[in-house]
Amino acid sequence: MNLPENLRYTKDHEWIRLEGNIATIGITDFAQSELGDIVYVEIETTGKALESNAVFGSVEAVKTVSDLFLPISGTINEVNPVLASSPELVNSDPYGEGWMIKMTVNDPAEVEKLLDAAAYKAVIA
């Protein structure tokens, strides 16, 4: 299971990468593997200010559907435009081309409170 050290994680299986006050968010390698072949990523919350743990979208796999939870409070700026035509990128490259949203976070310090790779590894063990 691929768990990059430079990311933060949530128990809901999202990852977050912070650059300044802009965060990139996606689902983990574990999450994509549990969901199986992903068919749609539906995120219609662009421009909305949301609290952490809010549902910001959903991901439909062949066999199942799962909500997406926002790891941190802030405003979603952008949804990965490539996912509309190539949702399978979430399966093949969950931390790279399969990223889901970019957002402006309210408090970058909040990110430090999320799980690091070792702590997330314990969650999925």
Partner: protein, 361 residues
């Protein structure tokens, strides 16, 4: 959790495993879409040893089968099988099954769903007042399905029986991969052709047959397939899944199984069903293809244009062969005609779909 004789092999192959009908079963090996495409274009092997098998024997066997099942088993001759179902006293479906005629008028094998083995056994036993001999051989019977357009080509070198020319819903019995008394049946749950093979789990039969098939098939692209793709394959064909699309409360006529419901003989609830047929059903299982983007799932509501509930989805998926979302569901009378627009409540939205003919592919 129960195991099949192949459970360790699935784990060693890296399958994602989950509990199904009390068994630890492989859900997927390399991804549902890839497994699905493998079966549609080449060949795949499924372990479905969790399924149940009963033998019904003796002079009273056929009468008992005729009494409890809806199809006409008197038409079967040795080497033929038929799809059928058990009905309860209300005309609901106790289970759907296949009846194999091993010996005309004397010996039959009934293959039932894993989750219903106990229920079916008790139900059939209740009507066995003339004491036909019944055996539950589920625990010692292995079942592998080898499905896909190249399945029989891959398997033919493993037996002297002619399996390339086996007609749909017929079977042969003999030596396969050095194992005696194997039933090879041109049946399956995928719509892609191929066979299902039944054999006794004794000595090293399971190992021998699995290894022989994998050795013959792997170089030709045969892959192991999990229950996930089994479900998408059957759903594209519109085949019913017990517990989803049919159950104790749905009648075979509502489920589109009128073709296995034969009123020229007596069976449980036949009068009630004949009346239902004459009066017309009030709801019907239909195929739905989504127009809007969204995947209908089991139990989602089906609505009409004025947001009134007209039914429920019983099975739904993204159909890998079509790249579209499809579903089965019951709709009220008046909404079952092909091309009728219906709406499926997918979380907080009503998304547009239309009634289409089954199979979807």
């Amino acid at each position: 959790m129960k195991k099949t004789p192949f459970t360790e092999k699935h784990i060693a192959l890296g399958a994602k495993m989950a509990e199904f009908a009390g068994y630890n079963m492989p859900i997927s090996y390399g991804g549902i879409n890839d497994e699905h495409a493998t079966v549609r274009t080449n060949a795949g092997i499924f372990d479905v040893s969790h399924m149940g098998e009963f033998i019904i024997k003796g002079a009273q066997a056929l009468d008992l089968i005729q009494r409890v099942t809806t199809n006409d088993a008197s038409r079967l001759i040795a080497g033929k099988a038929q799809y059928s179902c058990l009905t309860n006293e209300h005309g609901g479906i106790v289970d759907d099954l296949i009846v194999y005629c091993l010996e005309e008028n004397n010996s039959y094998m009934i293959v039932v769903n894993a989750s219903n083995i106990q229920k079916d056994w008790e139900w059939i036993s209740r009507f066995n007042t003339n004491n036909a001999e019944m055996q539950n051989i589920s625990d010692r019977t292995c079942l592998l399905a080898i499905q896909g357009p190249n399945a029989t080509k891959i398997l033919q070198p493993l037996t002297e029986l002619d399996i390339m020319n086996l007609k749909y819903y017929t079977f042969v019995r003999g030596v396969f991969a050095g194992v005696k008394n194997v039933i090879i049946s041109a049946t399956g749950y995928t719509g892609s052709g191929g066979v299902e093979i039944y054999f006794e789990d004794k000595d090293d039969n399971a190992d021998r047959i699995w290894s022989a098939i994998m050795s013959a098939g792997t170089p030709r692209g045969l892959k192991p397939i999990g229950l996930g793709a089994r479900d998408t394959l059957r759903l594209e064909m519109g085949y019913c899944l017990y517990g989803n699309d049919i159950d104790d409360t749905t009648s075979p006529l509502e489920a589109g199984l009128g073709w296995i419901t034969k009123f020229m003989k007596n069976f449980n609830a036949c009068e009630l069903l004949e009346k239902q047929k004459a009066e017309g059903v009030t709801r019907k299982l239909v195929g739905i293809e989504m127009i809007d983007k969204g995947i209908p799932r089991h139990d989602y509501e089906i609505k009409d244009a004025s947001d009134i509930t007209i039914g429920r989805i019983t099975s739904g998926t993204q159909a890998p062969s079509l790249g579209k979302a499809v579903a089965l569901g019951y709709v009220e009378n008046g909404f079952s005609a092909i091309d009728t627009t219906v709406y499926v409540k997918i979380r907080d939205k009503s998304l547009r779909g239309k009634v289409v003919k089954i199979p979807f592919v």
